[in-house]
């Protein structure tokens, strides 16, 4: 949550996360280069710049796959949430590694002529009509540009000042970058005559990313479908959304009413409150969060809101929509009209059975 900007909001979890990223990347690069040296000797030896270029390229490409898989994995299984928490550091690291790969490639393939390397990158190959000779490096450069924009705007300052919808749209470009990179790699393999196992790995990567997104998406659709079947009970505005006992104490649950925006329910100390499911930070699913220190706590980056009025505890000033909620028998009923952000609502009391 934001009162004043800090360069990086470090905490223990993020430090551990970043140390793991650094160790993982270093290990990968060292192993790749050592194995490359041992495997290709004599006439088949690969020169150092090309080996380095490939080590960095495959490292960045692998990291991008991890980044793209974390989202759906965290939706499917809560145990992946800690990975999501600091994903932007992973994103910035990926950009830096990809930048190093690009710098090496430009220096090595375009740096020794009389033409400026960047001019050479964009103009040395203009076979746009040919698939087997396509200027695949330009595809890589376009993807790198997108990755730069995302890394450069990853601080919360940008989220606030571009506005969450624009920021989100900008960061959805990662899928465009991913598509460009698949083509960069596929056409690159075609032209540099690499072994088929690399193509097989790329194919496996694409299938994994696509399958995870489809499975997680299908689950969301089923959830929304159940929402369509819910209708106001007895002509009034109250909608039955399930039994109280389906919500564990100090936990959240998510319901959809009429296919519209999702509502998060929370059970805390014998009471039930309802708020929007959309976190004010980056739209994280609040209903998948928990009550910590008496506050609704977002599962993504831990922003907190009081269940009784949807406001962040002072000194923070964030607010989310709340909903009226009541309990009839052991059933929870919600009025699906969103109240203005930060509106206080009396929580419904759960009669102990």
């Amino acid at each position: 949550m934001s009162v004043g900007y800090v360069t990086v909001q470090w905490n223990r979890h993020k430090r551990v996360y970043d140390v793991c990223i650094a160790i993982g990347i270093s290990l990968y690069l060292v192993v790749f280069i050592v194995v490359g040296k041992l495997l290709y000797t004599g006439r088949n030896a690969i020169s150092d710049p090309i080996l380095g270029m490939r080590a960095l390229a495959t490292c960045a490409f692998l990291l991008l796959h991890i980044i793209l898989c974390i989202g759906p994995l965290a939706r499917l299984d809560r145990r992946f949430l800690p990975l999501l928490y600091n994903r932007r550091h992973l994103g910035v690291a990926t950009f830096l590694i990809a930048l190093a790969h690009a710098a090496l490639a430009i220096g090595f393939y375009h740096g020794f002529g009389s033409v400026n390397p960047l001019v050479s990158l964009l103009s040395s190959n203009t076979n746009f009509a040919s698939l087997s000779a396509f200027p695949y490096q330009i595809l890589g450069a376009s993807a790198l540009l997108i990755m730069f924009l995302m890394a450069a705007t990853s601080h919360d300052f940008w989220l606030r000042n571009l506005g969450a919808p624009a920021w989100k749209r900008l960061h959805m470009l990662v899928y465009v970058a991913y598509a460009l990179l698949i083509m960069h790699v596929a056409l690159g393999i075609l032209q540099t005559q690499r072994s088929p196992w690399l193509a097989a790995l790329v194919g496996a990567g694409v299938v994994t990313v696509a399958a995870l997104h489809i499975v997680a998406g299908a689950r969301e659709c089923r959830h929304d479908e159940r929402g369509w079947q819910r209708a106001p009970a007895g002509g009034g505005c109250w909608v039955d959304v399930g039994a109280v006992d389906e919500i564990a104490d100090q936990c959240g649950a998510t319901v959809t009413i009429g296919g519209r925006e999702r509502i998060a329910l929370f059970r805390h100390n014998g009471r039930v409150s309802a708020a929007t499911n959309v976190c004010a930070h980056q739209g994280g699913p609040l209903g998948e969060g928990r009550i910590i220190d008496g506050c609704i706590t977002c599962p993504w980056h831990g922003w907190q809101y009081r269940p009784a009025d949807g406001r962040s505890p002072p000194p923070f000033t964030e607010k989310i929509n709340t909903y009226r909620v009541r309990i009839v028998g052991r059933r929870v009923q919600v009025d699906p009209t969103a109240l203005p952000p930060g509106t206080a609502v009396e929580p419904a009391r759960v009669e102990e059975a």
Binding site: G4, V119, L122, W158
Partner: protein
């Protein structure tokens, strides 16, 4: 043609860099109160983004200056 494109990008980035230094030094505080008293490392961190998106921030800064003048 390619040279012209690269020169345009270079010019855009050069203006962005000049504006960016001013913005990171003074402008951020004007458009976003949460940046008051932020460290120089924070200002350095947002600089690449400012260089890329400077026209947008220039508009914000002008807007902020105008509302301050009129109030």
């Amino acid at each position: 043609m390619v040279v012209a494109i690269l020169l345009t990008i270079g010019l855009y980035a050069a203006i962005g860099a000049a504006f960016g230094i001013l913005f990171a030094w003074r402008g951020v505080d004007r458009i976003d109160p949460a940046a008051h008293g932020a460290s120089w490392t924070f200002r350095l961190l947002i600089l690449p983004g400012v260089i890329a998106l400077w026209p947008l921030l220039m508009m914000r800064w002008r807007g902020a200056a105008r509302t301050r003048d009129s109030s």
